[in-house]
Symmetry: C2
Subunit: 358 residues, 2 copies
Amino acid sequence: MSAIYSRDQLYSFTKNILLKIGHSNEHAQLAADVLLAADIRGIDSHGVARLSGYVRLWEKNRVNAKPNMKVIHETPSTATVDADAALGLISAPFAMNIAIEKAKQCGSGWVSVMNSNHFGIAGYHSMMALNHDMIGFAMTNASPLVAPTFSKERLLGTNPISVAIPALKEKPFVLDMATSSAANGKLEIAQREGKSIPLGWVQDKEGNDSTDANAVKNGGALLPLGSSHDAAGHKGYGLGALVDIMSAVLGGANYGPWVPPFVAFLDPLPDLPGKGLGHFVGAMRIDAFRPAADFKKHMDNWIQRFKSAPAIDIAERVLIPGEPEFSMTEYRLKNGIPLNGNVVKDLAALGERFNISL
Amino acid sequence: MSAIYSRDQLYSFTKNILLKIGHSNEHAQLAADVLLAADIRGIDSHGVARLSGYVRLWEKNRVNAKPNMKVIHETPSTATVDADAALGLISAPFAMNIAIEKAKQCGSGWVSVMNSNHFGIAGYHSMMALNHDMIGFAMTNASPLVAPTFSKERLLGTNPISVAIPALKEKPFVLDMATSSAANGKLEIAQREGKSIPLGWVQDKEGNDSTDANAVKNGGALLPLGSSHDAAGHKGYGLGALVDIMSAVLGGANYGPWVPPFVAFLDPLPDLPGKGLGHFVGAMRIDAFRPAADFKKHMDNWIQRFKSAPAIDIAERVLIPGEPEFSMTEYRLKNGIPLNGNVVKDLAALGERFNISL
């Protein structure tokens, strides 16, 4: 049965589970904060719903709860981090802090992370830059679910890109998007409700257009942003490929079909070309280009101008990237986070096993 | 009547026209090289077809043929350039050279350009990094033609992003894409042929889906990559918005609806928030992250693996971003560049006026 929990309840529960599997207090707090950021922002697929998945990866020795993360290569504005099989929830903020320090020193900082695991929502990491009057960047590759244009085979993850940009009085601009046409979470909702999905989200295992919410499960694939070739799916494929290369080829992680599966019951492929999966994060100081106050004043102007564009339908005005997630955050911090029945059951089982009550 | 010209013929013609309107030899050669790069790569809309448009902007004093381009703000890894109303064809390579020098010094270099004009194909500028074993980035904003999701109004240009990544034996990976669903050039082809266009490319002036190739001309708009909201058009809007902010708000150029029109018969709006239009370019040294030889070996592996994915249709295997343009370059350098009748007429008139034969 579905139920509603406060952010603090779920945060404590998550932190305690992560402590039980051996994380330090600092790492458990950080990882719980990242997971809960997904839930309060309304990106339910990337929050506590994934906790048991991370635990199963730890059981398979694919997640290291006591990672010795370190910089293995650097220049004044760049670094490569070996995450030592940490949760990406922990290694991405570690890398982002390095990027921010480098940006303070020389204008911008860019950090490649290899030997890592899934990092939750990209937006958490990019938004770390905001309080420093910096623009933040975060991307990651992920287990292959998306077929490149013309391919039957899945070779790319949903490979998200996030960029967070500060404003003055307005809320920041926070782009956080998968480079696939639809998120896997949307398919899961349609599956639960027994509904078909719009054309342009998936193809079946022969590569035909499909409206079947189970098509990916049955050997099909998600389509890249833009969908078919006519509708510019090759651009979404190009963006997903870019994220794969920046996140993994650059630092020495696995790429394309070799990215280790998130589900622990599938083993990684043999003869891997890299280690774990990879992220790429960055920070740029605004005042490395122009005074931050000028920039933020113009961001407010940009945002206000776009919000006031004449709407096609009076019920739906133009939204600024990140705006729906800020509204959801406000709502859920006040009213709690609804979890669906399967997630509640999953967390209850986890709690029982580790003797922690939800 | 359409006709075929060699690259060198069109290059000399273009260079001579640019000299006639007052450019230095160095600038005329550079701008001609950038324009011809579009034609030999098959991006006909951005090549010599635009030459007379640039000349008309010069007549309106919106292009300065003797620009004093300078760095107005900098840090070790960043700079802002005031292009002094230069052709973007000239200011973007100027900025890219600064980015490359900064990358040599401290790993990466990022340059914002304001007070500029259209810069031709983004791919020319990003590809300048390749010979230095660097990854190159280039983006620009442009005159508003694209409607944000839910908006009737056009507020964004086709705002392209290009990223060029070196490989070892394989051709480089060169992403060069507009953030709209379709390029304006595709609409022009359909207009000439009196054909309708696929759903998902444009909306009419009320914001309804349309298959009319003249919809944009008649007050409609191009749709962002991803098309409608269901098909993830909000992601294309987010990307186009990101390009607008990085290219213009960051450095002090005009953004959104204030970007000056490319066509000289339309005047810029009053009370502009910035100067000219803007670009953002960058370069990252590969060996700022890992040894370049390792990276390039893995890029070859990435490219070969993607090329060999099982195809949906045996006639169309997976393409690597940039691959069609490299093939076209080879073909056109050998067989010449076909220009359609209107472009030939346009260039002939230009030649007559400046007493230069094509």
